[in-house]
């Protein structure tokens, strides 16, 4: 009850060729080009102080964005999945909104609010607060583009689980916190981890939105992807690919954890 052997091999070969061409070859390029000039050049690129400051900024922005969106995701999932109220579907659509917005536009909206010509620009200038072309802008843009990830992961999960276990806990005498910590949280731990790694991967790799708000000041407002761009545009290909290989490795680790979580939560 299946296609003939010839058709099967044909379809399989075409599919794998397509994936090879579009996924594996580009990925392999990153690592071969990074190591082409030898280990010394690679380490030199990584150990460069500008690279280090880019790494520090990326980690800082990601940690803040992940934490904020984690708290938000859990709160939103609790409110939306465990209760019935009017306007729930509209709220879910609004949470999805950042997915529909181009990264460039995501950055632009903050420039329009906090930039020099922005709505609150003059006031910020007067009080000597810098948001655009500074770290707060990068954190905001990163938070925006990763906004829906955790919530998106948790809402359907909690909806599918229903409220029976929580009701059972309450009837057995548990208070709100006990119910959340002992029943809801353990039930959503895999979904939470899943959401976290996706948020983190996107946060660390975000380019368009961060590029718009960063100002590209070397050693100050450059994140890893922006640093890659600068090195590449300076024709410093080996260094660009060396730094890019860090992000590619992060992507592979993310995929590995993701697959592990999927496998675990299926059990």
């Amino acid at each position: 009850m299946t296609e003939s052997r010839f058709i099967r091999y044909l379809l399989l070969s075409v599919a794998l060729l397509f994936l090879g061409l579009f996924l594996f070859v580009p990925l392999a390029t990153v690592f071969t080009r990074a190591l082409e000039k030898g280990g010394d050049v690679y380490w030199e690129a990584i150990r460069n102080p500008d690279t280090w400051s880019a790494i520090r900024l990326t980690v800082l922005a990601s940690v803040i964005a992940v934490l904020l969106n984690l708290i938000f995701g859990v709160a939103a999932a609790w409110a939306i999945a465990k209760f019935d109220f009017i306007g729930k579907n509209i709220l879910i659509s609004l949470i999805d909104l950042p997915f529909a917005v181009s990264p460039v536009v995501s950055g632009l909206i903050y420039v329009l609010l906090f930039g020099l010509q922005g709505v609150w620009g003059p006031w910020l200038l007067e009080h000597n607060i810098k948001i655009i072309f500074a770290v707060p802008g990068i954190v905001l843009a990163t938070t925006f583009v990763t906004f829906p990830f955790v919530a998106r992961e948790l809402i359907p999960l909690l909806q599918a689980q229903g409220t029976e276990e929580e009701e059972a806990a309450v009837v057995l005498g548990a208070n709100g916190w006990q119910t959340f910590w002992k029943v809801t949280l353990p039930n959503m731990k895999w979904g939470l981890l899943y959401g976290l790694i996706l948020t983190n991967a996107r946060a660390m790799g975000e380019f368009g939105a961060v590029s718009v708000v960063s100002g590209h000041i070397r050693g100050e407002t450059n994140t890893i992807p922006l640093h890659v761009e600068i090195l590449y545009n300076e024709y410093n290909y080996a260094a660009a690919f060396a730094v890019a290989s860090l992000l590619a490795a992060l992507a592979l680790v993310t995929l590995a954890i993701k697959s592990y979580v999927e496998w675990k939560s299926e059990l």
Binding site: E164, A169, V170, V171, L172, N175, Q178, K182
Partner: protein, 345 residues
Amino acid sequence: MSIDVKNLNKKFGAFVAVNNVSFHVKTGSLTAILGPSGSGKSTLLRIISGLETADSGEIHLTGAESTYQSVKDRNVGFVFQHYALFKHMTVAENIAFGLNVRKRNREETRERVQELLHLVQLEGLDKRYPSQLSGGQKQRVALARALAPRPQVLLLDEPFGALDAKVRDELREWITHLHKETNVTTLFVTHDQHEALEIADRILVMNKGSIEQEGTALDIFDHPASHFVAQFVGETNYIEASLCEPELVCWGSFKFSVNGYKMGDKIRIYFRPNDVYVSPTPETLQVKGVITETRFRGPLIELTLDIGEDKFITALIPKGVALASGYKKGEEVFLGITAFHSFRV
């Protein structure tokens, strides 16, 4: 440890789930709420537990007003239809949950868990996770978990609904036994009349949010108080007719003595298949019927009888009698009805 419900009402939008319900459940009794799905029985149970709030009315648990008490403070045991066991906890952790959240001391908790494992006959399975248990075992864990904090009353929502027939029969017997041992006032909801008739001391029959009848299994089976109860509990036949003389209903050659009806009233006569007497000879019987089908039902034989005017009724007779009389399809027999109930339509 009694339950008193007074004038309880609950609407969901325009749908009346519970309609002015009042009843009393005696301390230590095992009471069933029997009704078809959508009759409001589960909602009623959830209101008593505090999981749902009533629009109006009162609930007293052990004589104390509980209408506005939080679920936590009511101290009721609740067993959910699909058990709602905590998936990530072992059997022992599930049972201990109600004690742990109340910060009971550890030794006491451990002892109580052992005691309950023994009570529900699941010793040795304490380290298993719910996914490693059969349906019947899960049900017993759910019961043990509900009983652990020593609730005032135990509420069960369709306790055997999700189990297959054989396990259901076993658990039915076991739960009567468990009830005798623990003596906790128990109220359970079911749509299965056999379940209710077999194990409950008292039965509340519910339909469309109202209680239609309250009584023992025998009361309800032998003296149904309404159309609904007559039809819903047990198998029944009915014919619709009116008075042909004062205090006499006639339908074909059937005659039923009744009282309390006026001429012109439409009256329904209900009679159970086992109250239909069948004989191959006329004896003193007036009514004839033709056998259109015979069906084997274990110790009984079910006959479908054509009594004319396109009306078919069923009769249940002991297999021995049926075989001795040699009833066959197409044969003419004589009928009598030994017991019936009448209601105005």
